[in-house]
């Protein structure tokens, strides 16, 4: 048997030619694509199932997703310095404020969204558009514990000895701790009362975990009560975990997830088409259904019975926070939390 023999030079030339041909002849796309940063897990799966096909059929645009948490998106965009690794951000309020401060977004033009009129007031601004709401309150196991009424119950028996906590690393953790602090005389910018109170009961607290491990800890019975959002509660219920959501007496907390065009993106046009698809009624409605359990922002969507409000306008009464005030204090709070809870 004989082998065709190549010299090294021939081989390299052939390899270069092949690579060049591949680079030039990329598959043709009708209207191009948009690369969006996306929260890993529930969000990514839900967007793959509902947004990708909707965007393709409505605008003939391909959606490519880069799975990144909000904080990672800011870090990546900042490190890229003007050549963003994706075209669209999806962010919680804290990282959103950081993004605005550090000039990571293009100015937002709301008139480019057809569905903008279907959003409640205040859902669009100069920087981005709200695509989902999150409602934070208390999740507890009704088979193991009596129903808690307020944030302060978390630090009392019998709840405290079954309490699972996270620190200030997440948005929901931060706002929950602020709300606990408020009940003891603190405020949005003063969480000192929380540290005073938690110190008294720290040895009883069942778990102080990594945010990503909290659902697993709850599912495994390591803790039976925790502060959390409606989406996590609904997801756990879908897996037959005994968990119920409680709106604390002082009110549940609402915050919004927003999308933004990355500074320097070349796919701005397609990014707006993507946002418009996300906030359209059919997509919002699909995202609300289990197993996705999003809280919609489009008025045309009939709200699911399990959600803690009858209409979107009711969310105006929920507790809101000003992240431009919280962000500058957060580093010190995180440091303080480490020191107070570490053994």
């Amino acid at each position: 048997m004989t082998h065709a023999r190549f010299t090294r030079r021939q081989f390299l030339a052939a390899a270069a030619a092949t690579a060049g041909a591949l680079a030039i002849g990329r598959p043709a796309r009708a209207k191009g694509s948009v690369t969006a940063a996306m929260y890993p897990g529930t969000w990514e799966e839900a967007f793959r199932a509902h947004v990708v096909p909707a965007l393709k059929s409505a605008h003939d645009v391909d959606l490519e997703m880069t799975p990144l948490f909000a904080v990672d998106q800011i870090a990546k965009a900042q490190a890229a310095r003007g050549a963003p690794p994706f075209d669209a951000f999806v962010l919680d309020p804290g990282p959103r404020v950081t993004g605005i401060d550090r000039g990571l977004f293009e100015k937002f033009e709301a008139r480019r969204l057809k569905n903008v009129g279907r959003l409640p007031a205040g859902m669009v601004d100069d920087w981005g558009v709200t695509v989902a709401a999150q409602v934070v309150g208390i999740g507890y196991n009704p088979k193991k514990l009596p129903r808690p009424k307020s944030w302060t119950d978390l630090l009392k028996d019998p709840w405290v000895s079954r309490l699972g906590m996270t620190g200030f690393q997440t948005t929901y953790g931060t706002v929950s701790i602020i709300e606990i602090a408020k009940q003891f005389g603190g405020s949005e910018t003063n969480v000192e009362p929380f540290f005073v109170e938690i110190k008294k009961v720290l040895s009883k607290v069942a778990a102080i975990g990594a945010p990503a491990s909290m659902p697993a800890l709850f599912q495994q019975g390591q803790c039976d009560i925790t502060y959390t959002n409606t989406q996590t509660v609904a997801t756990l219920r879908g897996r037959d975990v005994d968990i119920e959501f409680v709106k604390p007496e002082s009110g549940a907390v609402a915050f919004f997830t927003t999308m933004h065009v990355a500074k320097g993106s070349r796919e701005g046009e397609n990014a707006y088409k993507y946002f418009d698809t996300v906030i359209s009624a059919p997509v919002q409605s699909a995202l609300m259904q289990p197993p996705n359990n999003f809280i919609p922002v489009n008025r045309d969507v009939k709200l699911a019975a399990a959600l803690p409000m009858a209409s979107l306008d009711e969310m105006a009464k929920f507790v809101r926070h000003d992240w431009s005030k919280i962000n500058p204090l957060r580093a010190a709070w995180i440091e303080r939390f480490n020191k107070e809870v570490a053994k």
Binding site: F69, V71, D72, I74, A75, Q78, T98, M165, T166, G167, F168, Q169, A206, A207, I208, G209, A210, A212, S213, A216, L217, Q220, G221, Q222, R330, A331, I334, F337, N338, K339, V341, A342, K343
Partner: protein, 281 residues
Amino acid sequence: MTVRVRPAEWQLALPLALAYAAFFLVPLLLLIGVSAFDDEKITTLGFAQWRRFLADPFTWKVIVDTVKLGGLTVAATALVGYPVALVYLGAGPRWQRVILFVVILPLLTSVVVRTFAWIVILGREGVINQALLWLGLAPAPLRLLQTEHGLVMALTQIEMPLLLLPLLSVMSRMDPSLRDASAALGASKWRTLVRVTLPLSLPGLVAGCMLVFASSTTAFISQFVIGGNRLVYLPLLIWQQSLVVYNWPLASVAALTLLVSVGLGVTAIAAVGRRSRAYAV
């Protein structure tokens, strides 16, 4: 005798050397550079972050805890792993293959999966607690998650392949006639173990311990998921500073501190290895 390295040989090492320079050396220099800024936006040069970090007693507690975690994990893996290696040494070729496969098995699943499995094992309603309650050895579920001993247990399993692979490779090259000679000269099994097998396997054991130490002190996922916020180690501080509050200078300071701590730990293990080899011979 000195070996003359012909140009062709160093040229072969060039791709790796370039990759190291580009993906290790340059980022390391950047890390050192970023740590020499005072402010989060990286505009003013200065050593304020270093001063702040090293002046805080909490930092030193975290450094000590991190190194201690590595030490405990090394001790536990060596204690559990060395007997496995002895079984390997005494086994026939077929069983050796089986043992090797079992040792490598954990590496075939992701560390994230292994870590979350440990939540199920160590949890309040987990396997260990259920067994203890059923046997009547404990009146109430023990707290194993978010404790140092629980974390060391999990890391012992997670890091075990790193100890065993170099150890087994050294052991399999050991000349069996040396142990036979020791026995023929009247040494007991213990004496043969301590005077012959252990010293000969020491290079593998030391290499394994260094890998376990470096890997367990930097195992962010396992430390955070199993240890939670109650156990604070240097990787958690790096993550918080770099990705939650975006204070990159302080994150760089913490990262360099971790690098130095791990480097010192690994050097210490290597020194202990050299010492005891000299003693054994």
